[in-house]
């Protein structure tokens, strides 16, 4: 009986891990793309002509089997990196990504020495 239960759970989990393909939510992508003709709106928020077109193109790219990163890369290639809200890690913005970790390490070290000295 225990073996049967184990097998049922095993099959269920392996199916959920490997059987189902990762589904890309277009709305997640729309939220991370900037509407270039709007004031501070994402493609998801906007009903502009430009946003409608981008939504259609994103849908096509998903149907073609492109990954989320590939879609962002396609859009950046056409409209520049400005179109993506979440900047990709590159040489120009590496400081932006690394700095919080540096601040965390230095801040932690600073607090540690401060506490130690007071003790």
């Amino acid at each position: 009986m225990k073996l049967k239960i184990f097998l049922v759970f095993f099959m269920f989990y392996t199916q959920s891990l490997f059987g189902i393909e990762k589904i890309i939510d277009p709305n997640t992508i729309h939220k991370n793309l900037r509407c270039l003709v709007c004031q501070g709106q994402s493609i998801s928020d906007s009903n502009s002509d430009f946003a409608q077109t981008i939504k259609l193109v994103v849908k096509d790219l998903i149907n073609e089997g492109k990954t989320e990163d590939e879609i962002y890369s396609f859009m950046s290639d056409k409209y520049g990196e400005w179109i993506v809200f979440k900047p990709q890690l590159n040489a120009q913005n590496s400081l932006l990504w690394i700095l919080p970790y540096i601040a965390l390490i230095f801040g932690g070290f600073f607090i540690f020495t401060l506490v130690k000295k007071r003790q």
Binding site: L36, V37, D49, T53, D77, K78, Y79, G80, L114
Partner: protein
């Protein structure tokens, strides 16, 4: 210890001011620099009045090509139309007109009234093909050379200055 704290506060203050200074001076508007000197991407746009599609391979025989995105409902397209008519007289330039999100009858009437400057007339009724060229509004025009390299992109209606510049490019 107090000096260290002062230095750290100063560094943080300096950093915040620097970030604000750089961010406020940075050009955040869309610019076309990422497209210039790049090869024209693969595309396949349906002909306006006949079956079949115009592709990148069809550009090979041409010399310079100006791809112009236009629509009959677009006011600035009317403004730039005389410039396109003047450019259509140039021998070493082909003009490719992409009718953007338009109604066929209205587009036909537009060309009948104002003249047809296009060597090839294509249609992009859903606007999806325009994304391949980084178009976000019309009119926009892209000039490419015989090696299929994008030389310049003109955002907005073509002016007399743009006409002079295009003439200089194709000379």
């Amino acid at each position: 210890m107090r000096n260290t704290v002062k230095i750290i506060i100063f560094v943080i203050f300096f950093f915040v001011i620097s970030v604000f200074y750089i961010s406020l001076n940075r050009e955040t508007n869309y610019n076309t620099s990422s497209l210039i000197n790049k090869e024209v991407p693969q595309f396949k746009i349906a002909y306006f009045d006949k079956n079949g599609s115009f592709t990148k391979q069809d550009l090979i025989n041409n010399n310079y090509t100006l791809i112009n995105f236009w629509a009959s409902w677009c006011g600035p397209c009317r403004v730039e139309h005389p410039v396109l008519m003047k450019l259509s007289a140039e021998n070493n330039l082909d003009i490719l007109g992409v009718n953007f999100k338009d109604k066929k009858e209205l587009a036909r009437k537009f060309l009948k009234d104002l003249g047809n400057p296009y060597n090839f007339l294509l249609k992009d009724f859903e606007g999806k093909q325009s994304v391949i060229f980084g178009i976000y509004g019309i009119p926009e025009s892209i000039i490419i050379n015989n090696e299929n390299t994008i030389i310049k992109k003109f955002v907005g209606p073509l002016s007399i200055d743009d006409y002079k510049e295009i003439k200089e490019i194709i000379k």
